[in-house]
Each structure stands twice: as structure tokens, then as C-alpha cells.
Symmetry: C2
């Protein structure tokens, strides 16, 4: 067989996906929902900035727990804590009176009602015919399931921090995926993600990796 | 609203299913695969009896682990141990020379390539539009995923002993499903099963239950 026909993904049994940003359009989804919910009571807010700070809090807190720090393994709970912290800052405290506890829980659920990129659903349905596809996301089980229904993401399996015992990039996540999918050679598992830190960690355990260009940071796809 | 329009499943957010026997035709699937694989080297065997003994071993070993006994939480490993034990008995030892370790592993995988009942796949696809559907089976994650692909079972989530820490009817299974699906009122979760012991255990934790008639024990549906 000549080299040009070599398939770099030959032998992969399962593809596991980062979800937020990689599979779904986090920034557009958060912007649209925040504006729809809050523009009447709080007009002219920079919802992009709000969503981005929330996302930054997510990165910091999950990284902290992944390296051994305290915090819940359920991302929805973590998102609630970060939101409460944000609404106590000078930058956003003017929003706090409009957001009682019930409303805050509603905002947390915005993370689990994000739209796929234009080609996400069709792409996953196609891949599902040839390999196992699953999440390897920092999202909660229920959040990932709800989002899958919302955005038509036909996962074969949902792997999540509550099930595996930490957040990415803790080794438990990548090794747990190998273990539970009964994959003995790490090169038969492939992580698909838009975030380099995640791919590097997966590769360090021998997984194959696919990098998705991080247009995820744009509110609208290019 | 008049009583005749009351829906006994009103408010159920998620249905979790027993799989072996309930969702797939265990007896026919095992019979057909055993005969296809072994009839040439071992003709005229009672493959029904063979499969039934294996199933009985499964019941006994999972029940033992569920009540605190030793044993692997991965059902495929447990099935391999039971098979090895069976092939060391007077009843089946004549088959042992035909079944090296590789062949035994192939037989173990028969459990994960079982056909759905005639209405299983269409029924699950229909339910999936209205509620979360998932496994709450004693099967392994990988086994349940492989079977879902084989029999077109569109699970939203795969819950399994390796993830929840025991086999049914240990409370960890039912409470773990509630926890990971973030269901606060147990009556919003419903177990569907053909086995009374399983339904009784689920009901004891407040889950709703649906009993499927155990035609599962017949090789062919009535």
C-alpha cells in the first residue's frame, strides 16, 4: 500500500469529544440565551464579556480540582458557584437583584442548551456508523444528556467527571475512558478537541488526537 | 381532569432499562451464536441448556457481588470466569478442548451481540423523543455500547456497574442512576424490566416501575 493511502485514524475504535466549544457553539449559545432572558431587565449589557468570564471561571476551577483542589465534580454545581462569585463582584453586582436563586439555576442550565456548529450533528451521525462516539467532557452527565437531546448529538456513551473522578486534564479522565471502553491499546482511542491543553494531556497517555480549529471562541462560525 | 385520562407515567423524566432479557432476546441470541460457532466441532449439543446455565451463573455471581461478595464489576470478566467454571464441570468438559482462551473470549462477546425483540428498536427511538432513555443493566459499559450498535438501541446514557460501583439489586445502582441523572424526586425515574427482583429493588427506593412480560425466557417471541 502506498503511503498516500495510509489512514492516520486506522484502527481507532472510539472517538471521544470535548463538547463545550468543540462540538457546540458556547459563545453564541450563551450570548443568545443571556440576552433573551435578561435584556428586558438589564439592557445594554456586554453578554459576551459575561459569558467569557464565566468560561474563564470554569477553566480555573476545573483545572484546580483536576490538580487536587477542592470542589464539586458536577460541573453544573461548579457553574453555580462561579456565577454566585461573579454576581458578587463590582463588575456584575448590579445584575444580582434581578437574579434570585431560581433564576441563577436557570442561567446555569444555559450551558446545557447550546447549539451545535452547523456541521456537528450530521458529522456525528456519520461517524457513529463507523466507530463508537462519546463525550469526554468536563460537563455533568445530566447536562451532557440534555445538550445531546437539544442539539441532536447521538452519543453512544457519556463519560463525565462524576463518573471518572476528576476533570480534564487529570489522567483519571483519559485512563477512565480507556478502561470503561475496554480499549487496551491507547492508540485505538482518539480525543477530538479544540483545546491544546486537553489534546496534549490525551497524547501523553498514548491516545490519538484530532484538533478542531478554535473558531469556538467566535460567537458566529466563520 | 377525569380519572381515565390520568397518565401513570406523568412526570417521568427518564426511563432506565434492564437489558438482557428485557430489551434483547438473550435466549435466541445465545442459541443462534453458539450453534453457528460450535455446531461443526460439537454437534447435537443442548445450547439452550448451556446458555441457561451461563445465565444462572450470571444471576448467582452478580447477586453475590451485589451483596458484598468478591468479584469483578465488569460483567464480561465475570462471564469469562463463569464460562471457565462451566467448562470444568462433567456436564460440559467435553467442549473444553474445542475452546481455547481466544475462543472463550469470543463466546463471552456473544452476550453483547444479542438481537432486540421485534419492537425494541422502534419503541426506544419513539421514547427517546419524549424522555431520557438509558441502560441500568448489569452489563459492562463497552458491552452495552457494542450491543446498542448491534441492535440499534439509541440510549441517551449508559449506566453500568463499573460506573456505579455494584450490580443490581444493590442500592448503589438505583441511587447512582438518580444521582447522575440529577433527579431529585425518585418518582421521576422509571425502571423498565422483566425481572421482579429488579423492579422490587427499584420500587423500594421510590422509583416508578414498568414490568415487561418475561417472554424473555423464550427463545422465540410469542
Amino acid at each position: 500500500m502506498s503511503a498516500e493511502f495510509l489512514n492516520p485514524l486506522e484502527g481507532v475504535q472510539a472517538f471521544v469529544f470535548d463538547v463545550f466549544g468543540t462540538v457546540v457553539n458556547l459563545r453564541k449559545g450563551m450570548y443568545d440565551q443571556l440576552e433573551a432572558k435578561l435584556s428586558a431587565v438589564a439592557p445594554d449589557q456586554d453578554w459576551d464579556e459575561f459569558a467569557e468570564q464565566w468560561r474563564d471561571g470554569d477553566y480555573q476551577r476545573t483545572a484546580s480540582v483536576a490538580s487536587g483542589g477542592p470542589g464539586p465534580l458536577n460541573l453544573d454545581q461548579l457553574h453555580k458557584e462561579i456565577l454566585d462569585d461573579m454576581l458578587a463582584t463590582d463588575r456584575w453586582s448590579h445584575l444580582a437583584p434581578h437574579l434570585d436563586d431560581t433564576a441563577r439555576h436557570e442561567l446555569v442550565l444555559f450551558w446545557n442548551r447550546l447549539p451545535g456548529w452547523p456541521d456537528t450533528s450530521a458529522g456525528l451521525h456519520g461517524m457513529k456508523k463507523h466507530a463508537i462516539i462519546g463525550t469526554l467532557s468536563n460537563g455533568s452527565v445530566r447536562g451532557l444528556v440534555d445538550m445531546a437531546k437539544f442539539a441532536d448529538l447521538p452519543w453512544d456513551v457519556v463519560l463525565s467527571p462524576e463518573l471518572l473522578g476528576s476533570y480534564k486534564p487529570n489522567p483519571k479522565m483519559y485512563l477512565g475512558a480507556l478502561h470503561h471502553l475496554a480499549i487496551t491499546s491507547p492508540s485505538q482511542l482518539c480525543l477530538v478537541a479544540a483545546h491544546i491543553y486537553d489534546l496534549r494531556a490525551a497524547a501523553s497517555h498514548g491516545l490519538r488526537t484530532v484538533f478542531v480549529r478554535p473558531s469556538a471562541r467566535a460567537r458566529f462560525p466563520a
